[in-house]
């Protein structure tokens, strides 16, 4: 056995650009087109259904469900074989998968309701025990003398290439049905996910809506078994909506984006798998989704890490600017000599290098000017510094005077809040304090 030095040095027959273009545009032959199209549709449906599973905080229920389909597939195969039928008929196998998947979900709910075990343990129990049963049944099938059993294992890891056109059409139709149902019921699903108790008070049958949501998860999972495999189908339910969540704060947008991301991942994954040998479709689809997720997590403007990080850095820069200006204003009143950047830094709790950087920044924007080794305020800096000082005083007064009527807000310390006060809030503060009879500090 020879061991390659790395995994990339083996000769892979890279497709030509022409082949790539054909597959991407569904013109590479009927089979490939149908397979890629149905996988994409599945991705769209999984994105939509997964969005609601995520919002209902049931993302991992799909994992239990997917693992629980294995014994159903095996049992359906055995039953069909014993009855003399052809074991590997997709409809029969998927029916078995759906039945045992639903049984698995029911078991999770029974365990949670009737024992002291929590949902996470219940999911783990169902997942491993059902899968264990499936493995035993598969090993029993192996020792049976029934032909055409090779395809069964492909349900575990998925094998787009093994899909017949009619399988693909079935997958596509099922995915389309799930999509339509989710589109019709978006309002009800949103309500139940946000506030199930309110929904039930309003007369919505929450349990039945939940069952419907779970049924859609079942349908998508079962439809995706062949393409993605039961170990990874849960990823198609979770990753696209989790990625979409970084981009938006609206359910409708979340669902649409999740559908697009899911569809895109499945489309690209299925294409790559159809073109290149030895690329298992499920894994490629999930990894594509993973790349989309990573990109969303970093780059999304609303909740992406880069955006959040930049905002945080900006706020802390602003806070140290405000502290520095206030310190300089207060100092001007009492002392004649200018302060060095290092001394200023230690006054406002910064390290000397941070102080030098701050002094550089403030000088560059013209709030502060150098005076020998020291720093002094420009006119603009003085005006700004006085305003900051005044806000600080106002807010402190407010906290002292009004703390008893706004007890939940006392934890907002003056040092932080003063930096985020809008002019309108300052006006309100002044009005409030004047009304209270104190008169604002000058």
């Amino acid at each position: 056995m020879s061991t390659p030095a790395s995994i990339t040095d083996a000769g892979i027959d890279w497709p030509t650009l022409g082949e790539l273009a054909h597959t991407l545009t569904f013109t590479a032959g009927f089979n490939a087109a149908v397979v890629v199209a149905s996988a994409s549709l599945l991705g769209v449906a999984a994105g939509i259904v997964g969005a609601f599973a995520l919002l209902r905080k049931r993302a991992l229920m799909g994992d239990a469900l997917a693992h629980a389909t294995l014994p159903g597939i095996a049992a359906a195969f055995i039953t069909a074989a014993l009855l003399g039928g052809q074991g590997r008929r997709l409809e029969v196998l998927l029916l078995g998968a759906a039945v045992s998947g639903v049984l698995g979900v029911l078991c999770v709910q029974l365990i949670v309701r009737h024992t002291r075990l929590r949902e996470d343990a219940a999911i783990g129990i169902v997942l491993s025990c059902f899968f264990g049963l499936g493995v035993v049944l598969l090993s029993a099938i192996q020792s049976m003398s029934v032909g055409d059993q090779g395809g069964l294992a492909s349900f575990i890891y998925g094998q787009t290439a093994a899909m017949l056109p009619r399988d693909a059409v079935l997958t596509g139709v099922v995915a389309l049905l799930a999509l339509i149902a989710a589109a019709l019921l978006i309002k009800e699903f949103t309500l139940v996910c946000f506030n199930d108790e309110f929904a039930s008070v309003q007369g919505w049958p929450v349990a039945r809506i939940d069952v419907l949501m779970m049924a859609l998860v079942v349908v998508v999972t079962v439809a995706g078994l062949q393409a993605v495999g039961l170990l990874l189908i849960v990823a198609l339910l979770i990753i696209p909506p989790a990625a979409a969540r970084f981009w938006t704060d609206r359910v409708r947008t979340l669902v649409i984006l999740s559908a697009i991301l899911g569809g895109l991942s499945a489309y690209m994954g299925a294409t790559a798998s159809a073109l290149l040998p030895r690329l298992p479709a499920g894994a490629v689809i999930v990894l594509t989704a993973g790349v989309v997720f990573a990109f969303s997590m970093l780059a999304a403007p609303a909740r992406g890490l880069v955006a959040v990080g930049v905002r945080r850095v900006r706020l802390s820069a602003r806070i140290s600017r405000d502290h520095a200006l206030r310190e300089l204003v207060v100092r001007e009143k009492t002392e004649a000599s200018a302060i060095t950047p290092a001394a200023l830094a230690s006054e406002i709790g910064l390290s000397p290098p941070a102080g030098r950087w701050l002094a550089y920044r403030l000088t560059r924007v013209g709030l502060v000017e150098r005076e020998g080794v020291g720093l002094s305020l420009t006119d603009r800096g003085r005006t700004l510094g006085r305003r900051i000082d005044r806000n600080h005083g106002l807010w402190q007064r407010y906290l002292i005077d009004q703390a008893d009527v706004a007890p939940s807000h006392v934890d907002l310390s003056a040092d932080l809040v003063e930096h985020v006060l809008s002019p309108e809030m300052v006006e309100r503060l002044e009005a409030k304090l004047t009304h209270a009879g104190g008169g604002a500090p000058a």
Partner: protein, 467 residues
């Protein structure tokens, strides 16, 4: 040594031992996951080690222990940190964070395996899931004439020699060697896990039940958790080749869950989970390896990791139904027993009130349910009541005494509810009806009440017989 014995020692014993060792180690560690409500972390880790295993394998070029172990531990660590980071920094919901983290790593592993096996590398995804216990073999010494040496037990690899059989003239393969290396690895991880739990017994208890308090007291809850995760990852790696990751997941969760259903005590929890795991390992092996032959499938075997999981599932189901304190079955039995005793007391009280009001057929007021009939027949059999001459029932003396005490309880409760709880007299009957059955010692109420002979409805409270 007979051929059957030799087959048992060389094939079944090491395989069964590997399964049992893996089960025990995982069950012990699983307790802390289940109690911390992190059961799925075990699931996530055992999926997420796959890329590390493959990379370690590719680098080493063989199934050598250390590269694979390090690779797996590395990717387990990546998985744990990734999931935590997704949850804390990126604010992804906990379940989804786990799903995103482990599925991406697992997909990466699957892809790597497929790429590797394209070039004839001897590793396949199926083995990771269900293990290859058939490769965990031990060929002690074929010829008992040679001495056992330490070397024979500890050498990791078997040697195979071919000789020509003097009888048939055909070549036969003779394998000899020490215990398979999978067993050594499992044993090492088992020792590490048991030592860890033994040394940090009380620290683990504290950090599991109240991580915040533990941290406040100066115990490093986070460190404990990290060490636990490393051990879980090690167990996964040590077990994957022999028993597969599915058994690891099952054993991390199922025995601990079964113990959780049975007991509230920490030490019992740990011991019970080990007992369940041991039973699952042994019985599971028997079910997988031997049972098919017993029922007529000679020479066939089932996947042993799968049957061990199934036995564990059966044990858990049994525990859920039969556990002494929390078992569903006993709860049902207790509920039925209580319902019957309530019905019995209701019948007695109805007959007593009937006597009181001079209308002996009061039992007719009770619901004509199967439960009432059962109560009547129970009381009749005990001789507490008997058939009245004109049809219906009447109280015998033992029944009358008991009935008096029930009615006394009821009326005391009514008095207490009106006087102490400020309820209205015409509302208390229903409430007293529910409460009278739940207390056998109505005397406990008496000190709260002024002595009295009449209840709020001005009916006499029967005197206490024992007084």
């Amino acid at each position: 040594m007979s051929d059957a014995t030799y087959a048992f020692v060389s094939l079944d014993l090491p395989a069964a031992l590997a399964g049992v060792l893996a089960a025990l180690t995982c069950a012990l560690l699983g307790n802390f996951l289940v109690l911390r409500r992190q059961a799925l972390m075990g699931d996530a880790i055992s999926h997420a080690v796959l890329p590390g295993i493959v990379v370690g394998f590719l680098i080493a070029g063989s199934r050598a222990t250390w590269p694979i172990f390090l690779g797996a531990a590395g990717s387990a660590l990546v998985a744990v940190m990734l999931i935590e980071a997704l949850r804390r920094v990126a604010r992804v919901e906990a379940g989804a964070a786990m799903g995103v983290g482990f599925s991406i790593l697992f997909a990466l592993g699957v892809l790597l395996i497929e790429q590797a096996s394209a070039r004839g590398v001897d590793l396949d995804a199926g083995c990771v899931l269900y293990g290859q216990l058939e490769y965990v073999n031990w060929y002690p010494v074929h010829d008992w004439g040679r001495f056992w040496t330490l070397e024979h037990i500890t050498t990791g690899y078997q040697t195979a020699t071919t000789t020509i059989s003097p009888d048939t003239g055909l070549p036969i393969l003779i394998k000899e060697g020490g215990l398979p290396r999978q067993l050594w690895m499992l044993a090492a991880v088992a020792i590490a896990a048991f030592t860890f739990v033994g040394v940090f017994y009380k620290e683990l208890r504290l950090t599991t039940f109240d991580p915040a308090l533990a941290t406040a007291l100066g115990f490093r809850a986070g460190l404990m958790h990290a060490m636990l995760m490393v051990l879980v990852a090690s167990a996964t790696v040590a077990a994957f080749e022999a028993v597969g990751s599915i058994l690891v997941i099952a054993m991390l969760i199922v025995p601990a869950a079964a113990a959780r259903v049975c007991t509230d005590r920490y030490a019992v929890q740990l011991l019970a989970s080990l007992a369940f795991a041991l039973a699952a390992g042994v019985l599971g092996y028997i079910a997988g390896a031997f049972a098919p032959a017993w029922v007529g499938f000679e020479g066939r075997a089932l996947n042993v990791a799968g049957t061990m999981t199934l036995v564990a599932a059966v044990l858990l189901t049994g525990a859920i139904f039969l556990a002494p304190a929390h078992g569903v079955l006993w709860r049902g039995v207790r509920r039925r027993r209580l319902a019957l005793s309530v019905a019995v007391e209701d019948v007695l009280a109805a007959l007593y009130r009937g006597d009181e009001s001079g209308d002996p057929s009061r039992v007719a007021d009770l619901p004509a349910s199967a439960l009432t009939l059962k109560a009547l027949s129970v009381l009749n059999a005990r001789g507490e009541i008997g058939r009245a001459p004109g049809g219906g029932w009447r109280l015998h003396e033992p029944g009358r005494r008991r009935a008096a005490s029930i009615v006394r309880r009821h009326r005391l409760w009514e008095s207490w509810l009106v006087d102490e709880m400020g309820l209205r007299p015409d509302h208390v009957h229903e409430t007293a009806e529910r409460l009278e059955h739940l207390t056998s010692d109505a005397g406990a109420l008496e000190p709260d009440l002024p002595p009295r002979a009449l209840d709020p409805h001005q009916r006499p409270i029967p005197p206490d017989d024992d007084a």
